[in-house]
Amino acid sequence: MFLTINAGDARPIYQQVADGIKELIASGKLAEGTPLPPVRQLAADLGVNLNTIATAYRELQRDGLLAVKHGSGSVVASSTTAERSLDELLRPLRTALTQMVLAGLPQKKILQLVINELQTVMQGRK
């Protein structure tokens, strides 16, 4: 199970870590109860500040995806995030769709891209 981090990505490292773990949970590759490596190990592997990984883990915890068990580390708590309003969920999608429209992509192509991405995200999920 691998998490990929891109040095050229505009997102900060903690966001890439959090998003990467979310993607793995969404695709079913990280099932409920799966232990995650300690903050120290992940930070050492990436060569980043401990707080960078701690921030990512806190975000996952806030979303209800991660549970920190005292003494036994962090585990995937759920494959669904804590309840959020539809408007809140639609906001990033709307932003992405706006970018695609502004980039001049035709509607059909955008729809195809969205379907393909959805299939990629959900592959392996029961």
Partner: protein, 375 residues
Amino acid sequence: MTHQFPGYGLFIGGFNGFSINQLHVIYYGLLWGGVRVRGCFRRWKQPLLRGEDWFFSVPVQHGFYSEEGATILRQYRVRMLSLFAIEVPAATAIFLSGQLQNLVWLILAMCILIHVNHVFSVNRAEQRAQKFATPGAEQPVSTIAISLKARRLRDFTNFKLEAAIAAISAAGLVWALRYYATAPEPRNLWIIFGTPLLLFYCQGGFLLAKVLIVAWRSPIPQVQAEEHIASREETRKFYLRTCDLGRINLAVTILFWPALLSAGPETREFAVKLWFAGSIVLGIVIAVWSEIKRKDMLKVTLRARPVKLPQFGGELGESSAPSDLWPLCYEPSAPTIILRSMRGYSLNLANRLTQLGAVYLAGLLALFVLIRFRL
């Protein structure tokens, strides 16, 4: 009973006879000599293992070895062989003095020197070769992959082996206690327990080394990820097994020590000789095993093309700036033992494992002094 040196010296103290000296010479000449020559051959060939397009892990331009590369290669090899300039006079002095038990200390010192010198030489040679690297080779890969599997010491532990080591060590300790309780007065606490104490401490050192090996950071490039993982894990396993072999050796020695003390004067010298002969045979077996495993490790390593990994140094905050205390630094927020700064690599004194290592070495030194002077 006399004893002049801690640990190993204690072991043979009082048994200095000609035959034991002969065994020392065999140990040094045959076992260490063989390992040393093989190591030199291995390091001699190391820069060219990937072919003439590479210098260690630096992809070099065509014709590199006929120009500046020849000088860099020669200097690397001279630096590698330069340690003989220390070892040969030191060994000669030991032979001339007749204190052949000191050969063991020479071997230990040379082991440390050889490894430090190798790391330094490779680093320096690679840095110089970077100037002649193929265009674009200095660019790090953009995407890296990191494993989400927790690396814990227990995942790399053979519990049957651990049980065996614990049982052998405990048997040795119980035997030593029994010997102490039944031995006639005057009983010397340091002679009976000094060596086992040192051996137990060394066991702890090997365990600490295992923790360090397991914790060693292992990011991999997304390209050829499987080959890189296989290479990292094979290397990790090799060094963990080497630590375990050392621990088995120490456990057996802990058991042998009270056996030696309990033996009568007529059988004691025979027991020492037997132990020495056993050590030589075992040393040869381990050296052969090590060579076979190294070759296996090399096969796996060569499949993975070396790449430069990106540094997310900016995330480390202050540590990315040159440290005033180079080559030492203090970065509590950085999880790594070694940090890269503008002036080169620095040892992070804020790291828990660095602190443990420092405390361990200080303890080892104190123990040596205690046993040597029987405080």
